[in-house]
């Protein structure tokens, strides 16, 4: 019931995102009804779908990774998988000359997967919070530096300028094909993740208890990491990295599911979708002659919330 209400609300926000600003649609229709349809379907629909889908993906993957690592600080960006995906996509497009949306999505997923494998090797699963945070930071920094290096040494002298546009997260001027290349793998991976929500709840009891229930914790862990890498990697390769949504959405969602880490997956997805589409509407309504990357907005809003989570955790550890 509550989920249905939230879905309805999200659909409403998405419709607003699609139709606002309405004036230019009216103007286009006055010239030619076909033009208005083209504007709506070719230009605005991919943007709405990507903002919505990317947000849902970040929420679900963030919630799944937090449940897996038993840590409210785990998320696609803190674990380095967003930076890893950006690295993969930059290598693919500027060094290997790959330009097909699907190839880019694959490269992004490979980069995200690589980052998560390095993280697991560095920190291990179920390790303490500080070790995870530091290992994730190390992976993010390394992937970020490698990305910058790849851009600096890229054959194209304009690589930096091109890349800025999407590395910071942007939904402008994406085609329906690009939306499909990013969102179809993400949707499939998220569906598989949602299917594991109950096992992730039981993971709260520890790996040994999960195994005693007949589940396979090690395999489950690898599945969660791989599925998150596929989903986030595909989205990052199309839209760039969008920070903090994957961290905050699950934290808010768990307040609604009375702390259950697995049950929070679906609500986290809905909250993530709302956050990203809201941030994109904000970016679009700011009257500037140049585009602000949406990732900048989510990070600006997310940082204080992240600090608040850290502070509350410190309070709990002291008590």
């Amino acid at each position: 019931m509550r989920i249905a209400l939230a879905l309805l609300l999200l659909a409403g926000i998405a419709a607003l995102h699609l139709l606002i600003p309405y004036g230019s649609l009216e103007a286009a229709r006055a010239i030619d009804p076909g033009l208005a349809t083209t504007l709506l379907v070719e230009l605005r629909l991919p943007r709405t779908l990507l903002a919505l889908g990317y947000g849902v993906t970040l929420g679900i993957c963030g919630a799944a990774l937090q449940a897996l690592f038993a840590n409210p600080l785990a998320s696609p960006d803190i674990t380095g998988s967003s930076s890893g995906a950006a690295m993969g996509a930059v290598f693919a497009s500027y060094w290997l000359g790959i330009s097909s949306p699907l190839g880019m999505a694959l490269a992004g997923a490979l980069g995200a997967g690589l980052a998560l494998v390095v993280l697991l090797a560095l920190a291990g699963r179920r390790t303490d919070k500080v070790a995870l945070l530091l290992a994730g930071l190390a992976v993010s920094l390394a992937a970020g530096a490698t990305t910058s290096l790849a851009l600096a040494l890229a054959p194209s002298p304009f690589a930096f300028y091109d890349a800025f546009d999407w590395l910071m997260g942007s939904f402008t001027d994406r085609s329906l094909g690009q939306a499909a290349a990013g969102l179809i793998p993400a949707a499939l991976a998220c569906a598989f993740l949602l299917h594991r929500a109950r096992a992730l709840d039981l993971m709260a009891l520890g790996d040994d208890v999960l195994a005693s229930f007949g589940h396979k914790p090690r395999r489950l862990g690898i599945e969660i990491v791989a599925l998150s890498a596929i989903a986030v990697g595909a989205c990052v390769s199309v839209c760039g990295a969008i920070g903090f949504v994957g961290l905050i959405a699950p934290v808010i969602a768990r307040r609604l599911t009375s702390g259950h880490p697995g049950r929070a997956l679906m609500p986290a997805g809905l909250i993530g979708g709302g956050l990203v589409i809201g941030a994109d509407m904000l970016v679009r309504t700011i009257p500037l002659d140049r585009a602000i990357p949406v990732g900048v907005v989510t990070t600006l809003i997310g940082t204080p919330i992240f600090i608040a989570v850290l502070m509350s955790m410190r309070g709990r550890m002291a008590s």
């Binding site: 038993a70 840590n71 709840d201 039981l202 709260a204 009891l205 520890g206 790996d207 040994d208 208890v209 195994a211 005693s212 229930f213 007949g214 589940h215 396979k216 914790p217 090690r218 768990r254 009375s258 702390g259 259950h260 880490p261 709990r316 008590s319």
Partner: protein
């Protein structure tokens, strides 16, 4: 007649060498032994954790072949760790022990373990002893045929330690089940039907409490003896035992 639990060649690499074990229904078995001797490994191997070797049959069913719903009916495992990551309410935490919602069972557990004032509190905000009670409740919630409880009495005050033994006794009588419980308190071990002594990664003694607790193996494993003034460190017969 076959026993309720039959375990063949169970072990954990490097911790517990392959072991055979059979337990009858209604039996309450204490697992004792020095630190690092293999108590936890024995319970984990029976609970079929990922590194467990050998095979376990409960109630005639090969445990490894069962999926979650049937597994919950066969066994439940309480690990020694009292850590809780997520702020799940105590009542919801108890429900993790049930395959399907059962409000009356949750109420019964809350009453049995006197958790009513804590039922809505997040489990990560409880004291260690309170958390130990809630975690025990989760483990016994599903009324399985075999309870595997790793140090359920540590962190408990004397009242709750004795009360927990009573609760386990009542549960296994009601469900015609059995329990393996690792304990450190050797006086409490005497309240069990049978004692299994695990040391150096093998079962070194197994039998009635008074038999095991007074055995030569017991003295060798623990390096303590019971004198007129309670337990005392025994003088080493073999200097190699001082590791």
């Amino acid at each position: 007649m076959t026993a309720l639990l039959e375990a063949q060649g169970i072990g954990i690499a490097g911790r517990l060498s392959p072991t055979e074990l059979a337990v009858e229904a209604g039996q309450m078995v204490a697992v004792i032994g020095p630190n690092g001797g293999g108590k936890t490994s024995l319970l984990r191997a029976l609970a079929r954790t990922e590194d467990a070797l050998g095979s376990v049959t409960i109630d005639g069913r090969a445990v490894d072949e069962t999926a979650e719903a049937e597994r919950r009916r066969l066994l439940s495992f309480l690990p020694a760790s009292r850590e809780a990551t997520w702020p799940v309410a105590v009542a919801d935490f108890l429900a993790f022990g049930l395959g399907s919602p059962d409000a009356s069972r949750i109420d019964a557990l809350i009453d049995m373990l006197k958790l009513a004032p804590l039922a809505d509190r997040p489990i990560d905000r409880l004291s260690t002893g309170e958390r130990a009670r809630a975690m025990l409740g989760r483990a016994i919630a599903g009324q399985p045929r075999l309870l595997l409880l790793d140090e359920p009495l540590s962190n408990l005050d004397p009242y709750w330690a004795l009360r927990t033994v009573e609760i386990i006794r009542t549960e296994i009588a009601q469900n015609r089940s059995a329990a393996l419980v690792s304990v450190h308190d050797l006086d409490i071990a005497r309240r069990f039907d049978r004692v299994v002594l695990v040391s150096g990664g093998t079962v070194v003694a197994d039998g009635a409490p008074e038999m095991v607790l007074d055995s030569r193996e017991f003295g060798e494993a623990f390096r303590v003896t019971k004198g007129a003034r309670g337990w005392a460190i025994s003088s080493p017969a073999d200097p190699r035992s001082w590791r």
